[in-house]
Symmetry: C2
Subunit: 468 residues, 2 copies
């Protein structure tokens, strides 16, 4: 077997503990955060440096052996899980976790792909800077580039595409490309940076990333608004977006999400009104600027028939209010006390903002008509929302119904000129939807580019683009 | 000749007035705004629709005839000028100038490539929206995508890459690709949108563009600060960027620029202090928010030793102050009263913001040591600046000195980890610098992609990538 020869050769190129073919590491890399069928890689290689990545790709390319880059293993759409049919090397870059250079005055930082965004946050806080994308806690910067993730700050600060200045990428043949220098803007040729962001390791492996940073706002304040219907909440969101109010964050939770949070908080805390709820984070240089934003947001919420509007009077209360959003993910499991170990399956559609209220309303109706238990969380300003479906993976009929719902929901978003994947990527989970969304012509062009950059097809096969 | 057969075939496919092979249109399309040696196309074709573009490209591709898309003819780096050695068809899309759909609530607009940004501004103003990129007055949206232009608003709102949602592109073989649907964010596959933005018509022709719009701020106000040295002005800029003050615009003019503006305004107006000058546009929802910004900016300017700080007390004075910046381009010609018809040659470097003051200072010293007459204008927050060199194109020795200066300046910026082209693109003017800037590996990858998308090499040959 070619992969065995490749592994034998890798053992001569790297240190023995870097090349693993059995044991818990193989099992670990067969899975990722979200529920997709696990498949074990044949071999896990731990890269300690860019030179290691070069060595592995040169070797794998010459043997035409598939390679999957992986760092935080928090992919939701199965981007880092090997295909069942293809013996694969998982190239784990999580040990490449150094902050290489912090350029405070230029508002940028150079990091290795295995740096977690939460660790990075701790490095940046003391110098008054932050990096906006905030996906799942385990995510590392390399994988965040791979899926073009975003999160709660994206409405204001954009996605990974807007927050990465430059990449170093190892191509399948071992060539190392630096996509761009460090100026804030440049028109020097094709945009290689954005070509790799969102490509999920299907054209090369990212070995270093230069991130754009932002100053931490001097003051922030959290406010909350409740609405009797999701349509009213959606109308408030649309109005706020249209007015161009520069809020830091705006998150929506539907009544089912609030119900699950109440269940998770228990009876020791006063229950939240189980209505569609918007959480706002306001940011600015002074109390006056915050007060102005608050007045505008409150005015709009009232005109959209908010049943309650409340703003935090101090930092502690802000933290307390935002904690509602922070607990929302795992709280969803409370909707299924019938299950000993419920799993969460997440959708990820986004629609033009004018269609958000309708999309949310139709989604909730669809869930109800199929008796599916789920909460809805929205990065509202971006028109992006997740249904957290609480499921029993062992129940075949239920999983079938959930799978059908996810596809219906994706098609609904696509029909609204939206996307089936706002921030989680394609992986294998959305591969069957990509052509419907972008059309056969765009898909064909993606295939043309993939074939040119990775002619042997060794880079994460079957992800983003289905195997033909 | 293959091109003659191609033209003959085009005459059968299009209406007679759409295919022009002699007369003023041929001369017109031999030139563009900035000074580059003119070369006539063999034929000009006027596209009235996407179907026309498809027909032309299919025909040209089958005959392997080069095609250059052109709309506003305002390219600065010669992107739309045919190569001397290659008989070429110029495909003029300026008649495709319709606003196709305005989605006010989604903050986007769909336009044809021949729409000028200034005409678009007039369409958007009544609905309270604007499109930030503001290059030269003649620029059309198609070409603005081609060069990834930006302008005075880019520090706050980004470049074309940040303000285009989606494109329709005709590939060399006539396939029409829609790069993306309309959600604000998406992780659905490779970023084809950004691949075409900045590719200067070398991989396909843009037939329709969906632009992201912003609400026009409720209030704006202009302020001005003067500094005895360019280093002081640069220090103020860096401090403002670091604090994250969300100004609408921040433009720098050096003392020579102010001198030229004084000359152009004549003795009827009180002369401006001939110092390095920053112009700020502040924007916000209320007088309070503007006053806060003003206080911060003034504090920073004073701490950077501003010799003067002045803010407009009303809208009329704001317009009056910003007019200083608006006249700066053509005013430069006043530096050469010795010439009957001086021309302006523009540089376009950008550096990381921490190097801006040094870059400006070294640039001014270089100009002085070679006795070159120029003003400097900077989109300061982006670290991007232009030397407007006022030249006599007939003076061979002078043009040689200017050309050498431009290269030195570009190399200086590249050595500072910056770019030789912040917003004007590569065209033919920067083709010899691209490898130095991005490296042979990135250039090789660009060539790989170009060859895959345009295998016959018919799309705007010799632009961005030098002919081998």
């Amino acid at each position: 077997m070619s992969i065995d020869q490749c592994i034998a050769q890798l053992r001569t190129l790297l240190l023995p503990p870097q090349v693993v073919t059995a044991g818990p590491e193989i099992v670990r890399l067969s899975k990722s955060l979200s529920y997709h069928t696990p498949h074990e890689p044949r071999c896990v290689v731990f890269a300690e440096s860019e030179a290691d990545i070069v060595a592995v790709l040169k070797c794998a390319n010459s043997h035409k052996v598939p390679v999957i880059p992986v760092a935080g293993r928090s992919s939701i759409e199965g981007a880092t899980i090997p295909l069942a049919s293809v013996p694969t090397i998982s190239l784990d870059v999580s040990r490449m976790d150094r902050v290489v250079a912090l350029h405070e005055d230029d508002l940028d930082v150079v990091v290795q792909p295995g740096v977690g965004w939460m660790e990075l946050e701790e490095v940046l806080k003391p110098v008054g800077l932050f990096f906006p994308p905030d996906p799942g806690a385990a995510a590392c910067v390399g994988g965040m580039c791979g899926t073009n993730c975003s999160g709660t700050f994206a409405w204001r600060y954009g996605t990974m595409k807007d927050n990465v200045i430059s990449l170093r990428v190892v191509l399948p043949d071992g060539t190392v490309v630096r996509t761009r220098r460090r100026p804030k803007k440049s028109s020097a040729g094709y945009d290689l940076t954005r070509l790799f962001i969102g490509s999920e390791g299907t054209m090369g492996i990212i070995s270093e990333i230069t991130l754009r940073l932002r100053p931490i706002p001097k003051l922030t304040c959290v406010a909350l608004a409740c609405f009797a219907s999701i349509e009213d909440a959606g109308a408030a969101v649309q109005h706020i977006v249209k007015e161009g109010i520069d809020l830091q964050r705006m998150e929506l939770m539907d009544s089912h999400a609030i119900h699950s949070i109440n269940l998770s908080r228990g009876i020791s805390t006063a229950p939240l009104a189980e209505q569609s709820t918007l959480l706002f984070e306001l940011a600015g240089p002074s109390p006056t600027s915050l007060a102005e934003q608050l007045t505008s947001v409150q005015r709009i919420c009232k005109s959209s028939h908010a049943t309650l509007f409340r703003s935090a009077s101090d930092a502690a209360e802000s933290t307390h209010l935002w904690a509602i959003r922070k607990t929302a993910y795992f709280a969803a499991k409370r909707l299924r006390p019938d299950l000993p170990s419920p799993e969460i399956l997440t959708t990820d559609v986004a629609v033009p903002i004018s269609r958000l209220a309708e999309a949310l309303s139709r989604t909730r109706a669809d869930l109800a008509s199929h008796s599916l238990k789920a909460t809805i969380l929205a990065h509202a300003g971006d028109g992006n929302f997740h249904c957290l479906l609480v499921v029993d993976p062992a129940n075949v009929a239920e999983m079938k119904a959930v799978s059908a719902f996810r596809d219906r929901n994706a098609h609904m978003a696509i029909d609204m000129d939206g996307t089936c994947t706002g921030e989680h990527g394609v992986g294998t989970g959305k591969v069957h939807l990509l052509e419907r969304e972008v059309g056969p012509e765009a898909l064909g062009l993606m295939r043309t580019i993939k074939a040119a950059v990775d002619p042997n097809g060794i880079m994460n096969p079957g992800k983003v683009l289905a195997r033909l």
